[in-house]
């Protein structure tokens, strides 16, 4: 319920994100990222963030802008290759990075939200990822123990929300967003469209309202495309 979930401004919705907080952030590349919440964080000026997100944006868009303003202390990602600012800060030791296989990252976030503190996966066995991790055999095969992730805040981008916080995502902009929505102590969702309660088909809701603490409507989404590939008619 909590009709009071709806916020009027991104400034207000992100105001209590504190220095040193862990943020879990939705999106894949620049697709489905909470671009307005990220921009608000740059304005807000919070520092020393640990950010769990599959990628780190590009130099001047998405999470990349928080790198430029030196607000991120550590990234937990599967791929950070699209970002020169990242590369500079990484090589100079300004930023820490914890590289996590994409499937493991997705499962760790889902596990965190689902109250599962740890699980075993075959991914990474025999690779540098296995270093320092507990291993265990099941049916004669070796698996790594990986831990669930819960953030102080989760930043989510959805297509539509109803006023209770039920969410629907669009096409591949869904990606990490539904898992991220479950894994924040406070989950902040920006949406393109806010609809009345009852307008979403209960059979087709991707994220039930229980996971959502704050909803804000964004306007003028840039939705930048990283690789515009087209075919001839």
């Amino acid at each position: 319920m909590q009709q009071g979930k709806i916020y009027d401004s991104f400034t207000e919705a992100t105001a209590d994100i504190f220095d040193g907080a862990t943020l879990v952030v939705g999106g894949f590349g620049l697709c489905g990222i909470p671009e307005k919440s990220i921009a608000a964080l740059q304005e807000q000026g919070v520092k020393e963030l640990t950010v769990v997100s599959n990628n780190c944006g590009v130099d001047d868009f998405g999470l990349g802008i928080l790198l430029q303003s030196r607000q991120i202390k550590k990234m937990v990602s599967s791929y950070v290759g699209e970002n020169k600012t990242f590369e500079q800060q990484y090589l100079s030791g300004e930023i820490e990075v914890d590289l996590v296989p994409q499937g493991t990252l997705a499962e760790r976030i889902r596990a965190g939200g689902a109250g599962i503190p740890g699980f075993y996966t075959p991914t990474g066995v025999g690779t540098p990822i296995a270093e320092g991790k507990e291993q265990k055999q099941f049916d004669g095969k070796t698996y790594l123990l990986e831990e669930g992730i819960v953030g102080d805040f989760a930043l989510v981008k959805a297509w539509k929300a109803d006023k209770l916080g039920n969410l629907v995502f669009r096409k591949t902009s869904r990606n990490f967003n539904p898992l991220v929505a479950t894994a924040g102590k406070v989950t902040i969702v920006e949406v393109e469209e806010l609809v009345e309660v009852g307008e979403l088909d209960p059979n087709e809701i991707h994220t039930p309202a229980v996971y959502v603490q704050r909803i804000i409507v964004g306007t003028d989404y840039e939705k930048r495309i990283e690789r515009r590939t087209v075919r001839e008619a």
């Binding site: 894949f28 590349g29 620049l30 697709c31 489905g32 599959n54 990602s77 599967s78 791929y79 950070v80 290759g81 699209e82 590369e87 990484y90 090589l91 590289l99 296989p101 994409q102 499937g103 493991t104 990252l105 997705a106 499962e107 976030i109 889902r110 996966t121 075959p122 991914t123 990474g124 066995v125 025999g126 690779t127 540098p128 990822i129 297509w159 995502f169 669009r170 096409k171 591949t172 902009s173 869904r174 990606n175 990490f176 967003n177 539904p178 898992l179 991707h206 939705k223 930048r224 495309i225 990283e226 690789r227 515009r228 590939t229 087209v230 075919r231 001839e232 008619a233």
Partner: protein, 220 residues
């Protein structure tokens, strides 16, 4: 004359059978998609959350909310579905994807694969590769047989950090095709024009030769 890339792509195409669910890695493997004959009905999975990748969009169809794992704009074919990243990797890790075709930097004779980092160079990340090689029912690696210095990328053991340990089922290079079996690495095809001896000369790995060794068809 066919380029190395053409040879690899044409041979890799034979791996894709009618009815398969397939994940094609970023880069060269993605190019295979366009070459799949229309009479082979396959569903391509993109690990960012799409099963049933269609062709690139027409200019007016471009949609920022519809990309593949290489962050390229795509379309969805009829019968496609979208899902979240946990579901996508549940599908991969759980053995529901029939085939993954990925690029490689090094493959070792025991089936080890290295394709994600070079010590001393900026490490960009493994993305979904480690999950794919441990999850897909069948893992086929495609790469050039030798590096730009003429050194074999088909190794007795990998020198680069691994992506997966004993995960490769088949390796396709521009010179040969190998299978990885309980009895070790087996040469099953050579590129037309090359002999088994030619392959031995450019391959660091130890391998046996399949009795049914055939000439590898060049895409002509």
């Amino acid at each position: 004359m066919a380029t190395s890339r053409d040879i690899i792509i044409n041979r890799a195409l034979q791996e894709i059978e009618d009815g398969m669910y397939v994940n094609l890695g970023i880069g060269i493997p993605t190019l295979i998609a366009n070459a799949i004959p229309n009479d082979r009905h396959v569903m391509l999975q993109s690990e960012n959350g799409l099963l049933g990748i269609g062709p690139y969009p027409l200019e007016h169809e471009v949609d920022a909310d519809e990309i593949n794992a290489g962050k390229e704009t795509v379309t969805a074919q009829k019968g496609a579905s979208y899902f979240d990243s946990a579901e996508s990797f549940a599908m991969i890790r759980g053995g529901h994807i029939d085939l993954a075709i990925l690029g490689g930097m090094e493959v070792a004779e025991n089936g080890d694969l290295a394709n994600w980092m070079i010590p001393g160079k900026m490490v960009k990340g493994m993305g979904g590769a480690m999950d794919l090689v441990n999850g897909a029912k069948r893992v086929v690696i495609i790469m050039e047989h030798v590096n730009k210095y003429g050194e074999s990328k088909v190794k007795s053991s990998c020198t680069l950090p691994l992506t997966g340990s004993q995960v490769v089922h088949r390796l396709i290079t521009d010179k040969a095709v190998f299978d990885f079996t309980d009895a070790g690495m087996v040469l099953i095809e050579t590129l037309a024009g090359l002999t088994v001896e030619d392959i031995r000369a450019v391959t660091e790995a130890n391998f046996t030769v399949s009795p049914e060794l055939e000439r590898m068809p060049v895409g002509e």
